[in-house]
Symmetry: C2
Subunit: 483 residues, 2 copies
């Protein structure tokens, strides 16, 4: 069977809504508050696998998990000027408790720099306690005025992993930015999510940051989605909160901070990037169910019973080897109907067991990504399944990376850049002198969003000139249609 | 050394504040919103162990984890009349997004019956889908007017495990109530938390329930703390939300529900119940660190280095056997200062390693609960540590249960009941005719809180009469000073 990616690529938005609904990942559009949805059991397990992975990676680098209150008093949130400017139009405010008006408005946390810096004034006095690396996994809230989208642009971002670190020096915070980038790279590598890293332009960095490094990916419809950010905050918040620590030389000074976050969007990408017109394809790293067994009924009822027994035996072997496997025993559905739904759900392997498999003591295994099948003897079951899962994981990852790479273009002509972007180019790079003025001009002319300059793999622009001012280019500027 | 429980028992409130602060479990009273605190890294790990355990127990019984939005629109929350009456004075309301007034007020979830029942109208159509067992672990919010207390009475309850189930019949929901009770019993048994189960009186059941079974425990100060509740909701919410399903016989009817919850209070109890004047004592089931190694410096610096090396070797052996162990290498603190802080933190075992241990290839292990020590040869290290942890776990549990049992009294004299309660009796049972009128009279006369009638171990009251009306008693009524 030919696995097409027509709907996936050309009607992605519709495809995505269909998959998260039919695969029972995330219920969106029915809960009666705009921009808020429900993680369904299957989706919750995918989410949990991602959460477990990021915890493991952060803990291994000495991060400590904490849990702060949801509510931030207005005066705290207003303490750092740039920060509140960036967020104030998007804050949900609690103003009442019962029928009493509260003395001070309480914000649903849009992010936690202010709350955490405030508490650090109690916790940290000396450089000897530094660096400190905290993180929490919580909901954050934004009163988005843009069109909301399930898992991608929400008013309640229900899986926000935010890390907040504190350092004696600017340089140590910069080292932390690099550590955070390595952690996120490992995270995305493990999940098979391709990414590109850019330093956001001055006019699009995090409100309160010195600079922001962002991870972006390209969705099936060629639009770019930001999936992770790392900020060097310098002393902006420590000064605003008058947080001073004793330095090694005995003087008191404001320590330096970083913060970095990832969200639900990681799951949205994991579900999207490996998809086709049959549904999603989950990397085995995230898949709650690694293999689904579909018993193929025989004409003879007793034989069917034996097939079920045999299927249970196969499932037991796999489960006891740590490979979560379910049998779809529904007697009201045909095997074909079962294939349909489990393909939408993206279970990596399907194991078909019918009379032929029963009599030959074998199973027939189909990979979700290719739908190619092989017959496997029962005695080789575990080793073959492990091998297939690993091959599938690698193949998915390679395909996803190839897709991303195929969507990055270069031109030194601004008109052409605009045309490329209008015809789903993905990301277009143009040579740039690095001035804000030219950057803003490029953004305006192309009607695209500026992602910033390359952080990872800069192009050689030594012979190029800025597309606007024609002065020698210092780097490239990345442009895209974004979410 | 004699381990006293003076402060623990007689100044419990102060003891508790001291422990959670000094052990770095929960930062309370400094975050600038009343009734909200911060889970610190050490406390977060204790919390996580409890969360992992309840997840394991619920999943094993077919519960599915989901995640609902925080915000509940006012009209949804008002749908079930009794429910909103019980909660409305305690709801935090979001009324603004940015500077815009919202069309409808949004409640910070006080609990999720309404949100979940609403979504179930989309999800469930047929008895074939039943029973459904959902749960989520989230923050819930109550605008408490009573005095707030860390982890015990909060405005943000940041670890609320709420389960919500749906059933074809009243009887199946009743079966679920029993299943939930078994799950909670297993949970508390495993954590070594003693409990007593009561059916709450009519006037103190959950707002919207047919009946409520509660788990209570007795704190060191003899006051009773509710630590878990299980509610039979009948058709109250399904009727309010017009949720009908097709029954086996083809008719449409409102299904029956249960809900059950536990909270942060479980951690508060785990920290409190096994304590003494040196701090908390954590059951190995919850302890993030099972053993702490304190190297005792030698006079000779080289020997001290060898002691450190030897300590690292010991730690490595334990960690590789799944026993999380840390070495306190701080050179600015004396061993005595280290004992002090690790005792507050309640690490189950302390391993002292000095010149004597180094030369004899042994370690000296002290149990936190008794501070009794034994010398153990290195070759027996793992088996001895495992044995000690298990003995300590059992001993803690037994002591805690003995404490609870010693605090349950019986009298058929109301005056005496009042006296007992005023002199820290814990729980007092009196014979009761089971009428609301007499129950309320008992509550009024004693000035105590009525916990309800025994669910677990009812007394034989066949020869007794109600303390108020003198008619034959049907059961006992439990009274207590409560949190």
């Amino acid at each position: 069977m030919k696995l097409t990616r027509e709907k996936w690529e050309n009607n992605f938005s519709e495809w995505f809504d269909w998959v998260i609904r039919e695969a029972e990942i995330y219920d969106y559009g029915r809960y009666p508050v705009k921009g808020m949805g429900v993680w369904l059991p299957y989706g919750f397990k995918i989410r949990q696998a991602a959460v477990d992975l990021i915890r493991k990676l952060l803990d291994a680098k000495g991060h400590e998990e904490v849990l702060f209150p949801l509510l931030v008093p207005e005066d705290l949130l207003r303490r750092e000027g740039e920060h509140i400017k960036g967020f104030e139009s998007e804050v949900f405010w609690v103003t009442k408790g019962g029928e009493e008006n509260l003395d001070i408005r309480l914000a649903l946390r849009p992010t936690s720099e202010t709350a955490i810096t405030y508490m650090e004034t109690y916790w940290v006095q000396s450089y000897k306690q530094l660096p400190k690396k905290y993180y929490q996994i919580v909901s954050v809230f934004r009163y988005e005025t843009k069109a909301t989208r399930p898992m991608i642009r929400l008013r309640e971002v229900s899986t926000f992993k935010e890390a907040h670190t504190l350092h004696e020096t600017y340089e140590d915070a910069e080292r932390q930015v690099k550590e955070a980038i390595e952690i996120y790279k490992n995270f995305f590598e493990e999940l098979g999510i391709p990414y590109i890293m850019s330093q956001r332009p001055e006019w699009d960095k995090f409100a309160g940051a010195i600079y922001t490094i962002a991870f972006d990916t390209i969705m099936p419809d060629s639009r770019v989605l930001q999936i992770g950010t790392v900020h060097h905050l310098g002393q902006h918040f420590t000064k605003a909160f008058d947080l001073k620590v004793q330095r090694k030389d005995g003087t008191l000074d404001y320590p330096h901070q970083t913060s970095y976050g990832i969200s639900d969007r990681v799951i949205a990408v994991a579900v999207s990037i490996n998809g086709d017109d049959h549904g999603t394809i989950l990397s085995p790293v995230l898949a709650p169910i690694k293999a689904v067994i579909i018993p193929i009924p025989a004409k003879d009822e007793k034989e069917t019973e034996k097939i079920i027994e045999y299927s249970e035996d196969v499932a037991k072997i796999l489960v006891s080897n740590g490979i979560n496997t379910v049998i779809d025993k529904d007697t009201e559905k045909t095997p074909g109907e079962k294939y349909y739904i489990w393909e939408i759900k993206g279970v990596p392997l399907r194991i078909e067991i019918g009379p032929r498999e029963l009599s030959s003591n074998s199973v027939f295994i189909k990979r979700r990504d290719t739908l190619q099948g092989i017959s496997v003897k029962k005695e080789n079951l575990v080793s073959e399944v492990v091998k297939l899962l690993e091959t599938l994981r690698k193949d998915l990852k390679e395909r996803a990376w190839n897709f991303l790479r195929s969507k990055i273009r270069y031109t030194d002509n601004l008109e052409e850049a605009k045309k490329m972007l209008d015809s789903k180019a993905g990301i277009v790079e143009v040579p740039w002198c690095e001035s804000n003025e030219c950057g803003l001009k490029i953004e305006e002319t192309t009607g695209a969003r500026v992602l910033g300059k390359p952080y990872d793999s800069p192009r050689d622009v030594s012979k190029s000139t800025c597309v606007v001012c024609k002065k020698p280019a210092k780097t490239t500027l990345r442009l895209a249609k974004t979410y």
